[in-house]
């Protein structure tokens, strides 16, 4: 093997390897999202977050506008505090926006759904969404249903 052809071959190999890594980063992973900066965070308190996890989507009108950044527990009010990273282009959320926790499909993952209110002032960085609705816990719903059925019977 001639030294020059060999070096060219090695060069091509390294280039293909780096291209593969580049493809994994650009096409497969979430790098596009990591690259966007300048977003802001919002907080919301829930009585029950159900199966919500960090990195779950935050949606408005079905469009993903951010992600859950952290879920902590407030030991004074016994509520869950959900911190959400909102993408910078969605900076015009009304002050009286409400947040609920929904499930995508019957068995799907849970996400935070935001519903726009009517106010003309907007939520700013680190603001808190006060109108919240907890996750639907299936056992509680069935329990309530059975309870109401039983009381109807009397």
């Amino acid at each position: 093997m001639q030294s020059k052809t060999m070096e060219v071959g090695v060069g091509i190999f390294v280039a293909i390897g780096i291209a593969a890594l580049f493809m994994l980063a650009m096409k497969v992973s979430n790098i596009a999202e990591l690259a966007t900066t300048g977003g802001y965070t919002l907080k919301a308190r829930f009585e029950n977050v159900g199966g919500l996890k960090v990195r779950s989507p935050v949606k408005m009108a079905g469009v993903r506008i951010g992600r859950v950044a952290a879920i902590t527990f407030d030991d004074k009010t016994y509520e869950a505090v959900v911190v959400m990273d909102i993408l910078p282009e969605f900076s015009r959320l009304p002050k009286d926006t409400s947040a609920s926790i929904f499930t995508a499909g019957l068995l799907g993952e849970q996400y935070v759904g935001l519903d726009a209110g009517g106010e003309d002032r907007f939520l700013g960085p680190d603001d808190e969404i006060t109108l919240t609705q907890s996750a639907l816990v299936l056992e509680q719903v069935i329990g309530q249903f059975l309870f109401s059925k039983a009381s109807e019977g009397n």
Binding site: F13, I16, A20, K27, V28, S29, N30, P57
Partner: protein, 258 residues
Amino acid sequence: MTEALRRLGRWGVRFFERLGRGSIFLFQVLVALPSLLPRFGLAVRQVWSIGVRSLAIIVVAGLFVGMVLGLQGYNTLVDFGAEESLGIFVALTLVRELGPVVSALLFAGRAGSAVSAEIGLMKATEQLSGMEMMAVDPLRRVAAPRFLAGIVSVPLLAAIFSAVGILGGYLIGVGLLGVDEGAFWSQMQDKVDLKDDILNGVIKSVVFGFVVIWIAVFEGYDSVPTSEGVSGATTRTVVHSSLAILGLDFVLTALMFD
């Protein structure tokens, strides 16, 4: 009874003796690595023979592993109406596990064995002693370039394996089975994390490459200089590095992903 204990003890002593020799050898090779800088051509030549020439098997294996993942994943997911998650399934499986592990196993079989046999034969035909006579340090001339080439090649091969595998899964999933193309890529991008998944996969393959090439070069260097000894060293390279890859993979997975 005492005989069995003695045998166990002898095995233990031998094991630790080899481990110690291997570690000293590793240290010497690492010290010899900087001397490669003025003679970089040596390492390039080794990247050619152990990296570039492993490319074909890696690409073919990656393509087929990806296609099988596409088929099997689809058959399972379609029962739950979740076939659009196929992209996540294929990408996470390849990037986290199969890419680094299978490419390192193939590398051990394709290139590790060759390195052991080559160095073992050099030793058996007294080429290594010949170098020493000419005041050429065989660690610098023979061991270090191969070591560096292995560490450089394996992560690149693993990345190529994963990328080709995802394309294979795409071909089967989207091309043959009719999964929606947009959902395939967008769900994948939604769930695969650059740091948690891709970077950890690369770290895995760097560790595997280090271990495989260490074992391969050491076994060759430490082999008994007879034809039997060389064949034993080659076999041990493949067996030990495969076991090391699988064992380390478990440990790394347990540490990285919770």
